[in-house]
Amino acid sequence: MESMKDKAAIVGVGYTPQGKVPGRSSMSFHVEAARNAIKDAGLKIGQVDGLLMQPPMAAMGDFMVAPAYLAQKLGLRVRFMAAHDVWGASAGCMAQHAAWAVVHGLADYVVCTYGENALSGISEYGTALNGGGEYGMFGAVAGYALAARRGIHELGTGPETWKEIAMAVRKWANLNPAARYHDRPMSYEDYYNSRLVVEPFRLFDICLISDGGRAFIVTTAERAKDCKKKPVYIMGMGQDHSATNVPQATHLAGPIGAKVSGEEAYKMAGITRGDIDACEIYDCFTYTVEMTLSGYGFFALGEGKDFLKAERLAPGGDFPINTSGGQLSEAYFQGFTALIEAIVQLRGEAGKRQLGAVTKTKAPEIILVSHNGGVMQTHSTLILRR
């Protein structure tokens, strides 16, 4: 792959009200997030000439939730546009495709959006997502719990490892006023007392479902210098989508797509894993974080129980992850939860949870962002820097 190192940058981020926000359509979150990202970048409406949208889960096949309608509502006339669905890996894949587009002149500024009224509206998350309703298989939790059970069997992992991830991420959420669990500290006891949902997962192994939207804007490194905010550069990128049917999959206990896409991203960035200051990981389930960090080479498969300690991963630790509270304890916006947080951290705008002196952690130069979709069937890696 041609090196894209430092050729493109992310220059704007957009938030919306989040958590439980009744009375809003999914489309309205896309529109508002995009609007706020354009404002944040200091761009005029007419400058944005590219648009990528991740359609909400509940709108699959809904003709009215389409990129052209989003462009229409934003008053954009674009020359690069697509609905972009690589499941949970979409945000990272969008950033990569948008980077290629701006570097090769398909567009100058690409806005990438996500939005869904998943909590208050018609949510698909608890339904038979991939079929299987006839066997009582509901929710993404089914496939991940089946994977986690293989993990227990093959790697000797389990709740004693996963509780460390859940605890650390919750501590970050306690510093983030926008997080669902901002006001709710968690103890190990709370973790073990949380109810079994789909064994081996307890409630606190499982991510939230949230209303809201997020957006970001990608442009060339050259143009980024003229934007309002400090650019965040894309140093490295990679994708690996095994796509295998879950029962036939050989990756349920790893290695997952983090390995191949991560190696690609490290190579492009010209760094090793030791250069990473923090990780923003797609934490749909605690087990996913273990699989992902192992894929990136931070520890061998089966050594998660030694590496993953809450005091290392939490504020004050030497290996901070998911500093917004992640999908487990902040909000679930597919890959946008992790990606937007990385940008905000690299800009130094993260308030009480800011990496650096505020949280007694290393000030971040380089952050790794990971996204996976399906049951670890799609994967995207981004390495971002200040």
């Binding site: 038979a128 009582g136 089946l146 349920l252």
Partner: protein, 137 residues
């Protein structure tokens, strides 16, 4: 009594699979070119892209590859079933499939446990392939 649980989504592609199941036969597509047994149903073999296929009958013998226990009823019709087990079954002939394990205590299920097929006639038109501990272990 009306059956209120979700039924399989039967479409043009998988209709033969469910038609065989209705006759209490577990059949999957075997590639006539390379012999690979594929699942779920598809028009081409993912290994060699041949369109030539035959519906081969499987023994229904297998082992538990992975399993989970549902403690939450995501659908009202499952309220009286929890806790219930969903599993991936490694079939003797090679492919794996999702199904339920019944006929034993949840705590007795383990990976590698031998299981055998039975059919649950849930409606007049639909029989679901399910698994129970193999007789004689």
């Amino acid at each position: 009594m009306r059956y209120e649980k979700p039924l399989p989504v039967i479409n043009e592609d998988n209709a033969p699979y469910w038609e065989y199941a209705r006759g209490h036969e577990l059949r999957m597509q075997k590639c006539a070119n390379c012999g690979h047994i594929r699942f779920p149903v598809s028009i081409v073999c993912p290994k060699c892209h041949s369109l030539e296929t035959e519906w081969t009958r499987l023994s229904g013998k297998g082992r538990v590859y992975s399993y989970v226990i549902y403690h939450q009823a995501y659908h009202p019709a499952y309220k009286n079933d929890i806790p219930y087990a969903v599993a991936i079954i490694q079939l003797k002939e090679g492919p794996r499939m999702e199904s339920n394990i019944t006929g034993c205590r949840m705590e007795d299920i383990e990976i590698g446990m031998p299981v055998e097929l039975y059919f649950d006639d849930v409606t007049e038109d639909v029989s679901l392939p399910k698994f129970k501990p193999a007789e004689g272990g």
